[in-house]
């Protein structure tokens, strides 16, 4: 009940702040880039708020509980991605003045055809990132209120579509900033209270010693909602309670170590201190192995860790919903200082998810049985404090998770709607000239249209792993947009055919790696690690292809002096306008603010 109220409060707060934003957002420029007048702190909180998604709020803790502390590399990479963005992309891209990645691709390489390819890639990355957010919303609402899966998907989808369509970017900037602080509060408060309450980490043998997660001193009863294949790590007796026609029948079995069996629908009762079985597909890890951040094979191998670090480090700059936010900075130096603040804000947030994964292993081992480790952040407070305190804290984490879905989905939808209304629509429609009103209407319609497809996919993708989709989006972004930005901004000899070939090559290698890995059923060893996270291969291939094809180009156009001037010239020199002419600002206010006189 409290949880329902908390989720409702977050949703209403989001809509309310969005409505305030709507009153302020009058021009198209307001809708899209908040008139480029946000201060670094607002922008930094908004970027962080937008970035912290289902994967950060629920996924890292769940993966850590299931797979061990290797999951913590992910939060490290998620933060470090902003360092790459700061060093190579933030200031030049802001100065260039283009609103979307597609604008940049077309203007820097003077190629309308490259714009088409970039737009398609934006829609692909953003769409694939949106589906797991909606999926997370469906699961969270199901855990918290028992509502069917589709209710959460529809609720978040509708709220976000309406909010983005009406408020656009400016409304959303305040909403995102608000939601960042909400998320920090929601993940930090229960974690700190738990650590104080327990006086540190309990059951150290299961965490860092030789033990598997255990049933506890009073045994453990686990609800099995559907037949569940599990593996028992050690020999143990167990009882299955099945109720039919009002009568409960109990049958006791003896599992041998390593036994794979399917538990029927009902309740599983384990005796005190029994080792907990794990759902098939995951491996039960003794504490010592669980606590090793790297070492072993597959997703614990050094190759996988390095590949993951590369994907997250270089992929962040290629996420369309993040990049678009940099255009709301007034100028290049502001973009730099915003990014530095983001590094600080994310560093604070990512201190906490790991605590949930570790405590979940000790306090909520029943999640191993059903494989629902992704819900550990939501379930841990009640597992630690049965009663009111647990309920209230559980409601807080649920509210934080909902804020994560709402904010990331909003950012993604702004990108999708911007790309559709700005890139795709003008190509299809025959009208030559459009008024601001028509463009605003297009953006709003595109916001609604852009949500229909991900909602439909989320209905069917209930069984698809969140981590797979998110990892794929990062690998794809690192293999396409990262080389496009790095070479396009810093290398004058990049050509449009080179950029296009490299993007296609990177995308193909990244995608086929993941698909082959899924088809083969996640094979082990170095090969399996590369298939699960191909960035360490696909990123160099994309870079090399771009460079080789560009250098071999038969005809070379004039050097991109004007583009380089727009990218790199400091503000305050009163230079003539170069770079991308901004179709949204033009006609409403003809000049772009320049920095420092």
């Amino acid at each position: 009940m409290i949880a329902i109220l908390a989720v409702a409060a977050v949703t209403v707060g989001t809509v309310g702040l969005g409505a305030i934003g709507t009153r302020i957002a009058r021009t198209t420029s307001d809708l899209l880039v908040a008139s480029r007048a946000m201060t670094p702190w607002w922008n930094a909180a908004a970027i962080s708020g937008e970035y912290l998604s289902a994967a950060s709020f629920l996924g890292i803790a769940g993966l850590e509980m299931q797979n061990g502390t290797t999951a913590l590399w992910q939060s490290l990479g998620f933060t470090a991605g902003y360092l790459a963005l700061l060093l190579f992309v933030a200031a030049p891209l802001r100065r260039f003045g283009s609103y979307t990645i597609s604008d940049f691709a077309e203007a820097r390489l003077r190629s309308p055809r490259l714009r088409g390819l970039a737009s398609a890639t934006v829609l692909l990355i953003a769409g694939f990132y949106l589906v797991p957010q909606l999926k997370g919303a469906g699961l969270t609402l199901n855990v918290v209120t028992g509502a069917p899966y589709f209710v959460g998907v529809l609720l978040v989808g509708l709220v976000v579509a309406v909010n983005v369509g009406l408020g656009g970017m400016r409304g959303i900037t305040y909403v995102q900033a608000f939601q960042f602080w909400l998320k920090v509060f929601a993940i930090a408060l229960p974690a700190c209270l738990l650590l104080i309450h327990l006086g540190g980490l309990p059951a150290r043998a299961a965490l860092f010693g030789d033990e598997y997660p255990r049933a506890g001193a009073h045994g453990l009863v686990v609800q099995i909602p559907a037949p569940q294949p599990v593996t028992f790590p050690a020999a143990t007796p167990y009882t299955i309670l099945v109720s039919s026609h009002g009568a409960v029948t109990a049958r006791t079995f003896h599992a041998f170590a390593g036994e794979l069996t399917t538990l029927p629908t009902g309740r599983l009762r384990l005796p005190a201190d029994a080792d907990v079985p794990v759902s098939s597909g995951t491996t039960a890890l003794p504490g010592r192995d669980w606590a090793r951040p790297v070492g072993g094979s597959g997703e614990r191998s050094p190759v996988f860790v390095y590949s993951l670090l590369i994907a997250t480090f270089l992929g962040t700059m290629g996420l369309p919903h993040i990049l678009v936010r940099f255009y709301t900075n007034p100028d290049g130096p502001a973009a730099r200082h915003t990014t530095v603040r983001v590094l600080g804000l994310l560093g604070v947030f990512y201190l906490f998810p790991g605590i949930y994964g570790a405590l979940g292993r000790v306090l909520a081992p029943q999640l191993y049985v059903t494989g629902a480790t992704d819900t550990v952040v939501l379930r841990l407070p009640e597992a630690a404090w049965p009663g009111t305190v647990g309920n209230v804290l559980g409601a807080i984490t649920a509210a934080g998770a909902f804020a994560a879905f709402l904010s990331t989905s909003s950012g993604l939808l702004v990108s999708i709607a911007g790309t559709i209304s700005h890139d795709v629509w003008p190509r299809i429609s025959r009208e030559r000239t459009t008024t601001g009103r028509v463009r605003r209407l297009r953006f709003r319609l595109a916001a609604v249209l852009g949500m229909v497809v991900p909602i439909s996919v989320a209905f069917f993708a209930q069984g698809v792993d969140i981590a797979v989709l998110v990892g794929w989006a990062f690998a794809l972004a690192a293999s396409t947009f990262c080389p496009l930005f790095l070479l396009g901004i810093w290398w004058t000899r990049l050509t449009a055919p080179g950029a296009a070939t490299g993007m296609v090559a990177g995308a193909l290698v990244a995608t086929s790696g993941i698909i082959v890995g899924l088809v083969l059923g996640e094979p082990g060893g170095v090969g399996g690690a590369l298939l699960a996270q191909p960035a360490i291969v696909s990123v160099p291939i994309a870079f090399l292809t771009m460079i080789v094809v560009s250098l071999r180009a038969a005809e070379r156009g004039s050097p991109p002096d004007a583009e380089m001037l727009a990218l790199h010239a400091p503000e305050g020199l009163d230079l003539p306008e170069t770079g991308v002419r901004d179709p949204f600002v033009l006609g409403e206010s003809a000049t772009r603010p320049r920095f420092r006189e």
Partner: protein
């Protein structure tokens, strides 16, 4: 190559504004300095983060030795790196702004 000769009364800024070869040369030097700074910061980052997975994999002491009951490797992974990123980023931003400022002064002079 140092672009020194200036036609009477023209600043490098004018060369930039008129997109002359002179102007492009000035800008190229700024771009190269900014890139060198970024690559330097990247190498510093890579040296710290790039070594860590290998070190934890190879040196068993890092997982065996415990601090306040938690293995050293986990401390290394969670605690020191985000502040290092922040410091590295802040230092970089200051230097990059300074390079921009130097360039502004350079091209404005008579």
């Amino acid at each position: 190559m140092q672009p020194t000769e200036q036609p009477e009364g023209r600043t490098p800024r004018d060369e930039l504004a008129d997109a002359t070869a002179h102007g492009a040369l000035y800008l190229r030097r700024l771009r190269q300095r900014q890139l060198a700074l970024s690559l330097f910061a990247l190498i510093a980052f890579g040296a710290i983060v790039g070594v860590l997975p290998l070190a934890i994999d190879v040196v068993p002491e890092l997982t065996r030795v415990e601090l306040l009951g938690i293995p050293l490797a986990i401390w290394l992974l969670v605690v020191p790196l985000p502040p290092i990123f922040l410091i590295l980023g802040a230092l970089y931003a200051r230097r990059a702004d300074a390079l921009d400022e130097t360039f502004r002064e350079l091209v404005r002079r008579r």
